[in-house]
Protein backbone atom coordinates (compact mmCIF):
# COMPACT_ATOMS: atom_id res chain seq x y z
CA UNK A 1 0.00 0.00 0.00
CA UNK A 2 1.33 3.39 -0.89
CA UNK A 3 1.60 5.96 1.82
CA UNK A 4 0.88 9.68 2.04
CA UNK A 5 2.68 11.74 4.70
CA UNK A 6 0.74 14.18 6.89
CA UNK A 7 1.60 17.85 6.57
CA UNK A 8 2.51 17.74 2.88
CA UNK A 9 0.49 19.03 -0.06
CA UNK A 10 -0.32 16.77 -2.99
CA UNK A 11 -1.16 17.31 -6.66
CA UNK A 12 -3.36 15.16 -8.89
CA UNK A 13 -0.26 14.43 -10.99
CA UNK A 14 1.34 12.80 -7.90
CA UNK A 15 3.86 15.40 -6.82
CA UNK A 16 4.21 16.39 -3.18
CA UNK A 17 5.10 19.82 -1.74
CA UNK A 18 6.65 20.32 1.68
CA UNK A 19 6.85 23.80 3.14
CA UNK A 20 10.31 24.28 4.64
CA UNK A 21 10.11 27.91 5.68
CA UNK A 22 7.65 30.55 4.55
CA UNK A 23 7.89 30.70 0.76
CA UNK A 24 10.52 27.96 0.50
CA UNK A 25 9.24 24.50 -0.44
CA UNK A 26 10.56 21.10 -1.50
CA UNK A 27 8.95 19.21 -4.38
CA UNK A 28 9.10 15.47 -5.02
CA UNK A 29 6.96 12.60 -6.30
CA UNK A 30 4.71 10.49 -4.13
CA UNK A 31 5.07 6.92 -3.00
CA UNK A 32 2.09 6.07 -5.16
CA UNK A 33 3.87 7.54 -8.21
CA UNK A 34 7.13 5.68 -7.61
CA UNK A 35 5.31 2.39 -7.04
CA UNK A 36 3.42 2.84 -10.31
CA UNK A 37 6.62 3.69 -12.18
CA UNK A 38 8.75 0.82 -10.96
CA UNK A 39 12.54 1.05 -10.93
CA UNK A 40 13.53 4.67 -11.54
CA UNK A 41 16.66 4.81 -13.70
CA UNK A 42 16.85 8.47 -14.67
CA UNK A 43 15.58 11.79 -13.37
CA UNK A 44 15.59 14.69 -15.83
CA UNK A 45 15.42 17.97 -13.90
CA UNK A 46 15.81 21.63 -14.90
CA UNK A 47 18.62 23.81 -13.56
CA UNK A 48 18.50 26.07 -10.54
CA UNK A 49 17.18 29.48 -11.53
CA UNK A 50 14.52 28.06 -13.85
CA UNK A 51 11.00 29.47 -13.45
CA UNK A 52 8.22 27.00 -12.70
CA UNK A 53 4.57 27.47 -13.62
CA UNK A 54 1.91 25.55 -11.75
CA UNK A 55 0.53 22.65 -13.83
CA UNK A 56 3.30 22.97 -16.44
CA UNK A 57 5.75 20.16 -17.22
CA UNK A 58 9.20 20.76 -15.74
CA UNK A 59 11.07 17.49 -16.30
CA UNK A 60 10.63 13.76 -16.28
CA UNK A 61 11.19 10.74 -14.15
CA UNK A 62 12.04 7.62 -16.11
CA UNK A 63 11.67 3.99 -15.20
CA UNK A 64 13.20 1.22 -17.28
CA UNK A 65 10.05 1.06 -19.36
CA UNK A 66 8.70 4.58 -19.63
CA UNK A 67 9.18 8.30 -19.17
CA UNK A 68 6.67 10.19 -17.05
CA UNK A 69 6.40 13.96 -17.17
CA UNK A 70 6.85 15.85 -13.94
CA UNK A 71 4.18 18.53 -13.52
CA UNK A 72 4.90 21.48 -11.26
CA UNK A 73 2.49 21.76 -8.34
CA UNK A 74 3.63 25.34 -7.68
CA UNK A 75 4.64 28.61 -9.35
CA UNK A 76 8.04 30.04 -8.46
CA UNK A 77 11.77 29.82 -9.03
CA UNK A 78 14.01 26.81 -8.51
CA UNK A 79 16.64 27.52 -5.86
CA UNK A 80 18.29 24.13 -5.83
CA UNK A 81 18.11 20.75 -7.56
CA UNK A 82 18.78 17.54 -5.62
CA UNK A 83 21.96 16.40 -7.35
CA UNK A 84 21.92 13.10 -5.42
CA UNK A 85 19.08 11.92 -7.66
CA UNK A 86 21.14 12.45 -10.80
CA UNK A 87 23.74 9.97 -9.61
CA UNK A 88 21.36 7.68 -7.72
CA UNK A 89 17.89 7.86 -9.28
CA UNK A 90 16.93 4.69 -7.39
CA UNK A 91 16.67 6.85 -4.25
CA UNK A 92 13.24 7.85 -5.58
CA UNK A 93 12.11 4.25 -5.11
CA UNK A 94 13.81 3.81 -1.77
CA UNK A 95 12.49 6.85 0.10
CA UNK A 96 10.52 9.13 -2.13
CA UNK A 97 9.48 11.54 0.65
CA UNK A 98 13.12 12.15 1.61
CA UNK A 99 14.15 12.28 -2.05
CA UNK A 100 13.07 15.80 -2.88
CA UNK A 101 13.74 16.89 -6.43
CA UNK A 102 13.55 20.68 -6.30
CA UNK A 103 13.85 23.39 -3.69
CA UNK A 104 11.60 26.22 -4.86
CA UNK A 105 10.84 29.76 -3.77
CA UNK A 106 7.14 30.05 -4.49
CA UNK A 107 5.47 33.29 -5.52
CA UNK A 108 2.31 32.91 -3.48
CA UNK A 109 1.85 30.50 -0.56
CA UNK A 110 -1.95 30.65 -0.92
CA UNK A 111 -1.47 28.70 -4.17
CA UNK A 112 -0.89 25.61 -1.97
CA UNK A 113 -4.53 25.73 -0.87
CA UNK A 114 -5.53 24.31 -4.25
CA UNK A 115 -3.56 21.12 -3.52
CA UNK A 116 -4.77 18.10 -1.55
CA UNK A 117 -3.84 17.18 2.01
CA UNK A 118 -2.69 13.65 2.91
CA UNK A 119 -6.21 12.36 3.62
CA UNK A 120 -7.60 13.74 0.36
CA UNK A 121 -4.65 12.38 -1.61
CA UNK A 122 -5.09 9.01 0.09
CA UNK A 123 -8.69 8.94 -1.13
CA UNK A 124 -7.64 10.17 -4.57
CA UNK A 125 -5.28 7.21 -5.06
CA UNK A 126 -7.65 4.59 -3.62
Amino acid sequence: MSKAVEGLFYSESHEWVKVVDGNIVLVGITDFAQSQLGSVVFVDLPEAGTRLEKDAEFGAVESVKAASDLISPVTGEILEVNEDLIGEPELVNQDDYASWMLKVEIDDPTELESLMDAAAYGNFTE
Binding site: G38, S39, V41, F42, D44, E57, A60, E62, S63, V64, K65, A66, A67, N93
Partner: protein, 364 residues
Amino acid sequence: MSQVLLTPLHDRHLALHAKMEEFAGFDMPIVYTNIPDEHVAVRERVGMFDVSHMGEILIKGNDARAFADAIFTNEILDKPFGKVVYGYLLYENGTIVDDLLVYLVNETEVFLVVNASNVAKDYEWIVNQTEGFDVTVQNLSSEYAEIALQGPLAEKTMLEVFNLDLSNLEFFTFRNVELHGHPALLSRTGYTGEDGFEIYTSNEDIVAIWDALAAAGVVPCGLGARDTLRFEAALPLYGHEISDQVTPITAGFKMFTKVDKGPFIGREVLLKEIEEGSAKKVVGIELKEKAIPRAGYPVYAGNQEIGVVTTGYLSITLGVPIAMALVDQAYSKKGTEITVGIRKKLIPGFVRDRKFLKKNYKSN
Protein backbone atom coordinates in the same frame (compact mmCIF):
# COMPACT_ATOMS: atom_id res chain seq x y z
CA MET B 1 -13.55 -5.96 -27.52
CA SER B 2 -13.36 -9.60 -26.61
CA GLN B 3 -12.60 -10.67 -23.09
CA VAL B 4 -8.98 -10.57 -21.97
CA LEU B 5 -7.35 -14.00 -22.04
CA LEU B 6 -5.49 -15.63 -19.16
CA THR B 7 -2.54 -17.99 -19.43
CA PRO B 8 -2.66 -21.22 -17.38
CA LEU B 9 -0.07 -19.61 -15.05
CA HIS B 10 -2.16 -16.52 -14.33
CA ASP B 11 -2.84 -17.60 -10.72
CA ARG B 12 0.89 -17.98 -10.15
CA HIS B 13 1.55 -14.42 -11.35
CA LEU B 14 -1.14 -13.01 -9.08
CA ALA B 15 0.20 -14.97 -6.10
CA LEU B 16 3.62 -13.41 -6.79
CA HIS B 17 2.00 -9.93 -6.94
CA ALA B 18 3.26 -9.37 -10.45
CA LYS B 19 2.35 -6.09 -12.11
CA MET B 20 -0.07 -7.25 -14.80
CA GLU B 21 -0.92 -5.55 -18.10
CA GLU B 22 -2.86 -6.50 -21.18
CA PHE B 23 -0.57 -7.59 -24.02
CA ALA B 24 -1.78 -9.15 -27.28
CA GLY B 25 -5.14 -9.86 -25.69
CA PHE B 26 -3.66 -11.60 -22.63
CA ASP B 27 -3.34 -10.35 -19.05
CA MET B 28 0.44 -10.79 -18.76
CA PRO B 29 3.05 -10.27 -16.02
CA ILE B 30 5.17 -7.20 -16.82
CA VAL B 31 7.37 -7.36 -13.73
CA TYR B 32 7.40 -9.38 -10.50
CA THR B 33 10.00 -7.50 -8.43
CA ASN B 34 11.85 -5.00 -10.58
CA ILE B 35 13.07 -5.13 -14.16
CA PRO B 36 16.82 -4.65 -13.51
CA ASP B 37 16.93 -7.56 -11.02
CA GLU B 38 15.02 -9.85 -13.38
CA HIS B 39 17.22 -8.77 -16.29
CA VAL B 40 20.43 -9.48 -14.35
CA ALA B 41 19.10 -12.85 -13.15
CA VAL B 42 18.87 -13.96 -16.79
CA ARG B 43 22.25 -12.50 -17.80
CA GLU B 44 24.09 -14.01 -14.84
CA ARG B 45 22.03 -17.00 -13.62
CA VAL B 46 18.68 -18.22 -14.89
CA GLY B 47 15.16 -16.84 -15.16
CA MET B 48 11.84 -18.05 -16.52
CA PHE B 49 9.13 -16.35 -18.52
CA ASP B 50 5.52 -17.33 -19.03
CA VAL B 51 5.19 -16.85 -22.78
CA SER B 52 2.02 -18.89 -23.18
CA HIS B 53 0.58 -16.02 -25.20
CA MET B 54 2.80 -16.95 -28.15
CA GLY B 55 1.04 -18.43 -31.17
CA GLU B 56 1.46 -21.99 -32.45
CA ILE B 57 0.40 -22.95 -35.96
CA LEU B 58 0.74 -26.47 -37.37
CA ILE B 59 1.13 -27.12 -41.08
CA LYS B 60 0.29 -30.72 -41.93
CA GLY B 61 0.20 -32.71 -45.13
CA ASN B 62 2.28 -34.19 -47.92
CA ASP B 63 3.43 -30.73 -49.02
CA ALA B 64 4.06 -29.38 -45.51
CA ARG B 65 7.76 -28.73 -46.06
CA ALA B 66 7.41 -27.44 -49.60
CA PHE B 67 4.63 -25.11 -48.51
CA ALA B 68 6.60 -23.79 -45.54
CA ASP B 69 9.55 -23.21 -47.86
CA ALA B 70 7.38 -21.24 -50.28
CA ILE B 71 6.17 -18.78 -47.63
CA PHE B 72 9.33 -18.50 -45.49
CA THR B 73 12.46 -16.43 -46.12
CA ASN B 74 15.01 -18.80 -44.63
CA GLU B 75 16.29 -22.15 -45.89
CA ILE B 76 14.53 -25.23 -44.51
CA LEU B 77 14.61 -27.91 -47.22
CA ASP B 78 18.28 -28.67 -46.57
CA LYS B 79 17.78 -28.88 -42.79
CA PRO B 80 17.26 -32.12 -40.84
CA PHE B 81 14.19 -32.88 -38.75
CA GLY B 82 14.67 -31.66 -35.21
CA LYS B 83 16.01 -28.32 -36.42
CA VAL B 84 14.53 -24.91 -35.60
CA VAL B 85 14.89 -22.12 -38.16
CA TYR B 86 14.30 -18.38 -37.63
CA GLY B 87 12.95 -16.23 -40.47
CA TYR B 88 10.07 -14.20 -41.85
CA LEU B 89 6.76 -14.44 -43.65
CA LEU B 90 6.61 -11.63 -46.22
CA TYR B 91 3.93 -9.86 -48.17
CA GLU B 92 4.39 -9.69 -51.94
CA ASN B 93 5.90 -6.23 -51.47
CA GLY B 94 8.63 -7.66 -49.24
CA THR B 95 7.41 -6.15 -45.98
CA ILE B 96 7.00 -8.41 -42.99
CA VAL B 97 3.84 -10.32 -42.01
CA ASP B 98 5.65 -11.72 -38.96
CA ASP B 99 8.91 -13.17 -37.69
CA LEU B 100 8.75 -16.73 -36.45
CA LEU B 101 10.44 -19.96 -35.51
CA VAL B 102 9.91 -22.93 -37.81
CA TYR B 103 10.19 -26.35 -36.16
CA LEU B 104 10.93 -29.12 -38.67
CA VAL B 105 9.03 -32.01 -37.10
CA ASN B 106 8.90 -34.59 -39.88
CA GLU B 107 8.10 -35.02 -43.58
CA THR B 108 4.45 -34.07 -43.12
CA GLU B 109 4.50 -31.66 -40.17
CA VAL B 110 5.97 -28.20 -39.72
CA PHE B 111 5.29 -26.35 -36.47
CA LEU B 112 5.36 -22.55 -36.45
CA VAL B 113 5.76 -20.33 -33.40
CA VAL B 114 4.58 -16.79 -34.12
CA ASN B 115 4.06 -13.53 -32.27
CA ALA B 116 1.03 -13.43 -29.98
CA SER B 117 -0.09 -10.11 -31.41
CA ASN B 118 -0.05 -11.53 -34.95
CA VAL B 119 -1.58 -15.00 -34.55
CA ALA B 120 -4.94 -14.28 -36.15
CA LYS B 121 -3.39 -12.28 -38.99
CA ASP B 122 -0.70 -14.92 -39.61
CA TYR B 123 -3.15 -17.79 -39.60
CA GLU B 124 -5.42 -16.10 -42.11
CA TRP B 125 -2.49 -15.08 -44.31
CA ILE B 126 -0.99 -18.58 -44.27
CA VAL B 127 -4.32 -20.23 -45.10
CA ASN B 128 -4.70 -17.82 -48.02
CA GLN B 129 -1.43 -19.06 -49.57
CA THR B 130 -2.27 -22.77 -49.49
CA GLU B 131 -3.87 -23.09 -52.93
CA GLY B 132 -2.13 -25.81 -54.91
CA PHE B 133 -0.46 -27.36 -51.86
CA ASP B 134 -1.60 -30.56 -50.13
CA VAL B 135 -1.64 -29.09 -46.62
CA THR B 136 -3.94 -28.25 -43.76
CA VAL B 137 -3.22 -25.36 -41.41
CA GLN B 138 -4.29 -25.44 -37.78
CA ASN B 139 -4.11 -22.61 -35.27
CA LEU B 140 -3.23 -24.50 -32.06
CA SER B 141 -2.40 -21.40 -30.03
CA SER B 142 -5.07 -21.95 -27.40
CA GLU B 143 -3.89 -25.55 -26.82
CA TYR B 144 -0.26 -24.71 -26.14
CA ALA B 145 1.37 -23.05 -23.16
CA GLU B 146 5.04 -22.06 -23.12
CA ILE B 147 7.80 -21.31 -20.64
CA ALA B 148 11.12 -19.78 -21.71
CA LEU B 149 13.94 -20.80 -19.35
CA GLN B 150 16.84 -18.46 -20.06
CA GLY B 151 20.31 -17.85 -18.70
CA PRO B 152 23.74 -19.43 -18.34
CA LEU B 153 22.46 -21.87 -15.69
CA ALA B 154 19.50 -23.09 -17.79
CA GLU B 155 21.15 -26.38 -18.78
CA LYS B 156 22.22 -27.11 -15.21
CA THR B 157 18.73 -26.25 -13.96
CA MET B 158 17.07 -28.72 -16.33
CA LEU B 159 19.46 -31.43 -15.15
CA GLU B 160 18.91 -30.70 -11.48
CA VAL B 161 15.16 -30.17 -11.59
CA PHE B 162 14.08 -32.74 -14.19
CA ASN B 163 17.14 -35.01 -14.36
CA LEU B 164 17.26 -34.14 -18.04
CA ASP B 165 20.71 -33.90 -19.62
CA LEU B 166 20.55 -31.37 -22.46
CA SER B 167 24.30 -30.91 -22.86
CA ASN B 168 24.15 -32.48 -26.32
CA LEU B 169 21.09 -30.55 -27.50
CA GLU B 170 22.47 -28.12 -30.06
CA PHE B 171 21.50 -24.47 -30.42
CA PHE B 172 18.34 -24.15 -32.55
CA THR B 173 17.34 -27.80 -32.30
CA PHE B 174 14.49 -29.41 -30.39
CA ARG B 175 13.33 -32.74 -29.03
CA ASN B 176 10.31 -34.23 -27.33
CA VAL B 177 10.91 -34.70 -23.62
CA GLU B 178 9.13 -35.72 -20.43
CA LEU B 179 9.44 -33.36 -17.47
CA HIS B 180 8.36 -35.20 -14.34
CA GLY B 181 6.10 -37.25 -16.59
CA HIS B 182 4.68 -34.23 -18.43
CA PRO B 183 5.25 -34.46 -22.19
CA ALA B 184 6.73 -31.35 -23.78
CA LEU B 185 8.48 -30.07 -26.86
CA LEU B 186 11.75 -28.43 -25.84
CA SER B 187 14.05 -26.35 -28.02
CA ARG B 188 17.38 -24.67 -27.36
CA THR B 189 16.13 -21.23 -28.38
CA GLY B 190 15.18 -17.97 -26.76
CA TYR B 191 14.79 -14.24 -26.98
CA THR B 192 17.36 -12.92 -24.54
CA GLY B 193 20.80 -13.40 -26.09
CA GLU B 194 21.57 -16.07 -23.48
CA ASP B 195 21.64 -19.84 -23.59
CA GLY B 196 18.33 -21.41 -22.67
CA PHE B 197 15.28 -23.37 -23.65
CA GLU B 198 11.72 -22.85 -24.76
CA ILE B 199 9.30 -25.45 -23.44
CA TYR B 200 5.93 -26.04 -25.12
CA THR B 201 3.29 -28.19 -23.54
CA SER B 202 -0.43 -28.31 -22.75
CA ASN B 203 -2.22 -25.78 -20.58
CA GLU B 204 -2.56 -28.49 -17.92
CA ASP B 205 1.03 -29.76 -17.92
CA ILE B 206 2.66 -26.32 -17.87
CA VAL B 207 1.69 -25.58 -14.27
CA ALA B 208 3.67 -28.45 -12.71
CA ILE B 209 6.72 -27.52 -14.83
CA TRP B 210 6.55 -23.89 -13.70
CA ASP B 211 6.13 -24.95 -10.07
CA ALA B 212 9.11 -27.31 -10.24
CA LEU B 213 11.32 -24.57 -11.68
CA ALA B 214 10.05 -22.04 -9.13
CA ALA B 215 10.73 -24.47 -6.28
CA ALA B 216 14.32 -24.76 -7.54
CA GLY B 217 14.73 -20.99 -7.20
CA VAL B 218 14.45 -19.99 -10.86
CA VAL B 219 13.58 -16.27 -10.93
CA PRO B 220 10.23 -15.48 -12.58
CA CYS B 221 10.75 -12.68 -15.12
CA GLY B 222 8.13 -10.51 -16.77
CA LEU B 223 7.66 -9.07 -20.23
CA GLY B 224 9.51 -5.93 -19.09
CA ALA B 225 12.80 -7.80 -18.69
CA ARG B 226 12.05 -9.87 -21.77
CA ASP B 227 12.08 -6.65 -23.79
CA THR B 228 15.25 -5.16 -22.22
CA LEU B 229 17.05 -8.49 -22.72
CA ARG B 230 16.05 -9.01 -26.35
CA PHE B 231 16.87 -5.39 -27.09
CA GLU B 232 20.44 -5.65 -25.78
CA ALA B 233 20.88 -8.74 -27.96
CA ALA B 234 19.59 -6.62 -30.92
CA LEU B 235 16.77 -9.11 -31.51
CA PRO B 236 13.88 -7.44 -33.33
CA LEU B 237 10.35 -6.99 -32.01
CA TYR B 238 7.45 -6.93 -34.43
CA GLY B 239 5.95 -3.44 -34.52
CA HIS B 240 9.34 -1.91 -33.69
CA GLU B 241 12.39 -2.96 -35.72
CA ILE B 242 10.29 -5.07 -38.07
CA SER B 243 6.76 -4.47 -39.35
CA ASP B 244 4.59 -4.35 -42.42
CA GLN B 245 6.39 -1.10 -43.26
CA VAL B 246 9.90 -2.56 -43.69
CA THR B 247 11.61 -5.51 -45.35
CA PRO B 248 14.09 -7.78 -43.52
CA ILE B 249 16.85 -6.18 -45.61
CA THR B 250 15.93 -2.69 -44.38
CA ALA B 251 15.74 -4.07 -40.83
CA GLY B 252 19.26 -5.48 -41.16
CA PHE B 253 18.36 -9.17 -41.10
CA LYS B 254 19.54 -10.22 -44.54
CA MET B 255 21.18 -13.29 -42.98
CA PHE B 256 17.74 -14.83 -42.37
CA THR B 257 16.57 -14.28 -45.95
CA LYS B 258 18.00 -16.79 -48.39
CA VAL B 259 17.20 -15.13 -51.71
CA ASP B 260 19.26 -17.79 -53.51
CA LYS B 261 17.24 -20.75 -52.21
CA GLY B 262 14.51 -20.42 -54.85
CA PRO B 263 11.16 -18.68 -54.96
CA PHE B 264 9.34 -17.50 -51.85
CA ILE B 265 6.76 -14.79 -51.39
CA GLY B 266 8.39 -11.37 -51.39
CA ARG B 267 11.71 -12.57 -52.83
CA GLU B 268 11.65 -10.38 -55.97
CA VAL B 269 11.42 -7.20 -53.92
CA LEU B 270 14.28 -8.30 -51.67
CA LEU B 271 16.49 -9.09 -54.68
CA LYS B 272 15.81 -5.61 -56.03
CA GLU B 273 16.54 -3.97 -52.69
CA ILE B 274 19.80 -5.90 -52.30
CA GLU B 275 20.84 -4.84 -55.78
CA GLU B 276 19.76 -1.21 -55.61
CA GLY B 277 20.33 -0.54 -51.91
CA SER B 278 17.85 0.25 -49.19
CA ALA B 279 16.24 3.66 -48.75
CA LYS B 280 16.36 3.22 -44.98
CA LYS B 281 18.21 1.04 -42.49
CA VAL B 282 17.72 -0.04 -38.89
CA VAL B 283 20.93 0.98 -37.11
CA GLY B 284 22.32 1.08 -33.62
CA ILE B 285 22.58 4.43 -31.84
CA GLU B 286 24.46 5.42 -28.72
CA LEU B 287 23.94 8.71 -26.90
CA LYS B 288 26.82 10.74 -25.50
CA GLU B 289 24.78 12.19 -22.64
CA LYS B 290 22.66 10.43 -20.08
CA ALA B 291 19.09 10.45 -21.41
CA ILE B 292 16.83 7.68 -22.62
CA PRO B 293 16.06 7.38 -26.34
CA ARG B 294 12.65 5.71 -26.44
CA ALA B 295 10.59 4.17 -29.23
CA GLY B 296 9.00 6.86 -31.36
CA TYR B 297 11.47 9.64 -30.56
CA PRO B 298 12.74 11.48 -33.67
CA VAL B 299 16.33 11.21 -34.89
CA TYR B 300 18.01 14.22 -36.53
CA ALA B 301 21.15 14.99 -38.51
CA GLY B 302 21.59 18.72 -38.10
CA ASN B 303 18.16 20.25 -38.58
CA GLN B 304 16.88 17.42 -40.69
CA GLU B 305 14.69 14.66 -39.28
CA ILE B 306 16.22 11.45 -40.63
CA GLY B 307 14.44 8.72 -38.73
CA VAL B 308 12.84 7.38 -35.60
CA VAL B 309 13.89 5.28 -32.60
CA THR B 310 12.36 1.79 -32.79
CA THR B 311 13.47 0.60 -29.32
CA GLY B 312 15.77 2.27 -26.80
CA TYR B 313 16.79 1.93 -23.19
CA LEU B 314 19.35 2.93 -20.68
CA SER B 315 21.02 -0.46 -21.11
CA ILE B 316 20.82 -2.40 -17.86
CA THR B 317 23.92 -4.45 -18.68
CA LEU B 318 26.05 -1.64 -20.12
CA GLY B 319 24.70 1.40 -18.27
CA VAL B 320 24.69 3.52 -21.43
CA PRO B 321 21.75 4.91 -23.44
CA ILE B 322 21.46 2.86 -26.62
CA ALA B 323 18.78 2.39 -29.23
CA MET B 324 17.86 0.84 -32.50
CA ALA B 325 16.48 3.34 -35.00
CA LEU B 326 15.12 3.33 -38.53
CA VAL B 327 17.06 6.05 -40.41
CA ASP B 328 17.62 7.23 -43.97
CA GLN B 329 20.34 5.21 -45.66
CA ALA B 330 22.55 8.28 -46.11
CA TYR B 331 22.91 8.54 -42.34
CA SER B 332 23.28 4.85 -41.54
CA LYS B 333 27.08 4.71 -41.58
CA LYS B 334 28.80 3.91 -38.29
CA GLY B 335 30.09 7.02 -36.59
CA THR B 336 27.54 9.37 -38.17
CA GLU B 337 26.75 12.16 -35.71
CA ILE B 338 23.05 12.38 -34.93
CA THR B 339 20.79 13.80 -32.24
CA VAL B 340 17.67 12.33 -30.69
CA GLY B 341 14.77 14.59 -29.76
CA ILE B 342 13.99 13.83 -26.12
CA ARG B 343 11.25 16.05 -24.72
CA LYS B 344 12.42 19.60 -25.47
CA LYS B 345 16.10 18.75 -25.96
CA LEU B 346 18.28 17.39 -28.72
CA ILE B 347 20.65 14.86 -27.19
CA PRO B 348 23.82 14.18 -29.20
CA GLY B 349 24.82 10.66 -30.19
CA PHE B 350 26.23 8.60 -33.02
CA VAL B 351 25.38 5.64 -35.22
CA ARG B 352 27.05 2.43 -34.04
CA ASP B 353 26.84 -1.29 -34.68
CA ARG B 354 24.08 -3.30 -33.05
CA LYS B 355 26.46 -5.63 -31.24
CA PHE B 356 25.55 -4.01 -27.95
CA LEU B 357 26.52 -7.16 -26.14
CA LYS B 358 28.13 -10.50 -26.88
CA LYS B 359 25.51 -13.22 -27.19
CA ASN B 360 26.14 -16.20 -24.95
CA TYR B 361 24.61 -18.94 -27.05
CA LYS B 362 25.55 -22.59 -26.80
CA SER B 363 28.21 -23.25 -29.41
CA ASN B 364 27.53 -26.45 -31.30
